[in-house]
């Protein structure tokens, strides 16, 4: 079991006053993994993503990305180190077009976004790269429209495009299909399934059908702590998981 590790958390703890939102969370995401994070509402899934990406600081514990301890890194520095995320609620640039937004992300990654003396059109390679990402995600046709005019499902894809533009080693998808009609979420997960194998993915998702078909391993989070981490078959039959999660109002 000495496969290369992309991301590891060690004993992450976080509390807001008396509320413990993360309790001793230790996870390992191997290189190229497709892991799912599930749990009932309020289990602390998004909190965990915020801890890993640096929007929140853990009270204790460590986050190791590709062998580097990034616990004290700022969010932007973690992105530079190869850790990208998407947001459960769209967090886009409403008045930029997708090509502009993704080109911006590419320029930030390349470190050329501070060049105020060069015209944007001189960054031809970055524009091409941005366009390649967009067309891979099926957004090529709407690349020059304003983001606020895009369909909701397209905006969800743009969330992923922005994350991909940072060339992540690890990608955290916070409910990528949230709010997308059931028919269209399959298309979204087709895109996710086609992501390059060297990107390790941890995704939060409520639709059990999708979780069981895409994840090679599932982490069950309950009230801030890991209840169980195992293969889908084990999760499916585990009585504790049934009780806390599938028991009350599972989707579909």
């Amino acid at each position: 079991m000495s496969e290369p590790v992309a991301l590891r958390t060690e004993g992450l703890c976080k509390r807001f006053g008396s509320l413990e939102v993360a309790r001793d969370i230790s996870l390992t995401l191997p290189l190229g993994a497709r892991h799912a994070l599930i749990g009932p509402n309020g289990a602390g899934k998004t909190t965990l993503v915020n801890l890993i990406t640096g929007q929140l600081r853990p009270d204790s514990g460590r986050i190791v990305l590709d062998g580097t301890d990034v616990t004290r890194f700022s969010t932007a520095a973690r992105v530079k180190a190869g850790l990208a995320r998407t947001f459960q609620i769209n967090s886009l640039f409403p008045d930029l077009s997708p090509i502009e937004a993704v080109t911006l992300a590419v320029c930030e990654r390349a470190g050329t976004a501070g060049q105020f003396w060069r015209s944007l059109s001189a960054h031809g390679d970055s524009i091409d790269e941005a366009y390649a990402i967009l067309s891979r995600l099926g957004l090529g046709d709407v690349a020059t429209r304003r983001t606020r005019t895009l369909a909701y499902g397209q905006q969800r894809l743009l969330e992923i495009a922005l994350a991909l533009a940072t060339r992540p080693k690890v990608l955290l998808l916070d409910e990528p299909a949230a709010g997308v009609p059931k028919g269209e979420s399959a298309e979204l997960f087709r895109v996710i399934a086609e992501l390059p194998k060297d990107i390790s993915v941890l995704f939060i998702e409520h639709d059990m059908g999708i979780v069981f078909s895409f994840a090679s391993r599932i982490v069950v989070l309950v009230s801030g702590g890991v209840l169980l981490e195992a293969e889908p078959e084990v999760i499916r039959t585990d009585p504790r998981v049934r009780e806390v999660y599938l028991g009350h109002g599972a989707h579909g």
Binding site: T53, G54, S74, T75, A76, V79, K80, A84, R85, F87, S91, L92, F93, P94, D95, L96, S97, I99, E100, A101, T103, L104, A105, C107, E108, R109, T112, A113, G114, Q115, F116, W117, R118, S119, L120, S121, H123, G124, S126, I127, D128, A130, Y131, A132, S135, G140, A143, T144, R145, R146, T149, L162, A163, A165, T166
Partner: protein, 329 residues
Amino acid sequence: MALTETRPMQARAWIRRQSRWSVYEVLFWLAALLPFYFMPTYLTLASQVAIAALFALSVDLILGYAGIITLGHAMFFGLGAYCAGLITKAGWGEPLTGLLIAGAFAALVGWIMSFIIVRVRHLALLMITLGLGLLTAELANSMRWLTGGTDGLQGVDVWPIFGRYDFDLWGYTAYAYALVVLFLGVLLARRLVNSSFGLSLRGVRENLNRMPAIGSPYRRHLQTIYTISAGMAGVAGALLTQTTETVSLDTLSFQRSADVVVMLILGGTGRLYGGILGAIIFMVARDQLSDMNPQYWYFWIGILLVVVVLAMPGGILGGLARLVGKRGA
């Protein structure tokens, strides 16, 4: 297949189109030459307008493009003005280098301030810029030995431009000089907002919270634009000193900080030419209305401001652009 091959080129072409000169811009600059031929008695006013326009442009760069609100930008205008005046008193009256030194000095102060500015937002930002502005004005007031205090800085002597063009009574040189500097300022600002840097500023304005998540050191971007804006405001102040050969405390006043924001809101923020249009309306209105009644001319500016803000959220230029349908979806 052939179609998909050309698509990346279309993306590039679309980006390039965003920064093209429009016919309206060209017409504007041609119109800016008219005062030389048709309104020679208004050349002094025209140079004042060009200076105010450059100042408004500097504020547009931070307010309109980066979302940094300010009520204290006269600080940099005044620092540039005093710096340009003091250089001539020290015996160096060459205007072009004077302009650059004054701009560099204001930019340096702006850079130091930027460390505080990028850490706060909204009301706190407004209060801090206001506070720093008031502080500078009082400092200049109390340092009478350097600034002349309320009497203003006397004995400013600017040499002719290129050793040839003296600042004449009619304002030919003053307007030509101010107009050229304004044009260079617009060129700089255009390049800036149409660069990858300008794109990241728009990103900050659109969604600050997303910027760290795409790995952006956005505070450094904000510091850069604040520094550039301070330098540009300083150049505008220096222009005023050089064309009027005097510096008064009101270059640093809160009134000037507030006026420039009014000009920008009137004309429209985030459009480069909004501040320029606002400066023209504001300065010409002041000139004409204060002839009628010197005390109450702000009454009309107040009405205009309320009407524009209520009826045209994008300012006058924003309203015009909507009429022309240029920015329609």
